[in-house]
């Protein structure tokens, strides 16, 4: 498609389960970003990819969070042993190169019961 695609759009899971979120960036975009947005809050940076490497993972909240990007395209964000505080909207964005407009997907709404 023309925009950033994220799946699933909604995910409800029990505390302690693992979840995997997927992001398909705009074709040709070399930079990919994951953010988290909580209700009524601003944006929290999680991780940035340039190609397949992640120069900045500093925003990942704990070692339960990991992300990878393969083929310079699709990225997955994995949360292990989910906790209730992980409930949020997880947004993915991509840009042609860094320091260019970041275009967002519609996010994955994650709810931990």
């Amino acid at each position: 498609g023309a925009g950033v695609s994220q799946s699933p759009s909604n995910k409800v899971t029990e505390k302690g389960k693992d979840v995997e979120l997927r992001c398909d960036p705009i074709s040709g975009h070399t930079a990919l970003y994951w953010y988290r947005q909580s209700l009524g809050q601003g944006l929290e940076f999680l991780i940035y990819f340039q190609g397949n490497s992640a120069p900045d993972k500093s925003g990942l909240p704990s070692d339960r969070f990991s992300a990878e990007r393969t083929g310079g395209s699709v990225s997955t964000l994995t949360i292990q042993r989910t906790q209730q505080e992980d409930s949020a909207v997880y947004l993915c964005a991509s840009s042609l190169i860094p320091n260019q407009p970041q275009h967002f997907g519609d996010g994955t709404r994650l709810s931990i019961l």
Binding site: V4, Q6, A31, Y33, Y35, G40, Q41, G42, L43, F45, Y48, D56, L91, A93, S95, P98, N99, P101, Q102, H103, F104, G105, D106, G107
Partner: protein
């Protein structure tokens, strides 16, 4: 830490009037700013951007103004339409990639 914030959490405007949404930023080293619009259940949608070597940029029905002296941004929307109802965020890019924005301004357009 550094933060990007908005002056008012809500703005109500009459359809057809012009809207002005304000934003203050605190990182004087910031050189790239983006305005986003977010509708319920959707991701932030790019509206317009501006770099620090400019003080004004115009798009279709929108104008962004940057005042680096007082670290202030504004987004002006001309002839506001019902479809402009959304939450608006001003975003700051740090280190060429780390985007941040606050809680946003909710714009409601009255018919």
């Amino acid at each position: 830490g550094e933060s990007v914030g908005l002056h008012l959490p809500t703005l109500s405007v009459q359809e057809g009037d012009n809207s002005i949404i304000n934003c203050a930023y605190s990182n004087s080293a910031s050189d790239y700013f983006i305005w986003y619009k977010q509708e319920s259940g959707k991701g932030p949608q790019f509206i317009i951007d501006i770099r620090s070597n400019m003080d004004k940029r115009q798009g279709q029905r929108v104008t962004v103004l940057l005042n680096k002296t007082v670290k202030h941004l504004s987004l002006q929307i001309a002839a506001t339409q019902p479809g402009d109802s959304a939450v608006y965020f001003c975003a700051e890019i740090d280190n060429d990639y780390k985007l941040s924005f606050g809680a946003g301004t909710t714009v409601t357009v009255r018919a």
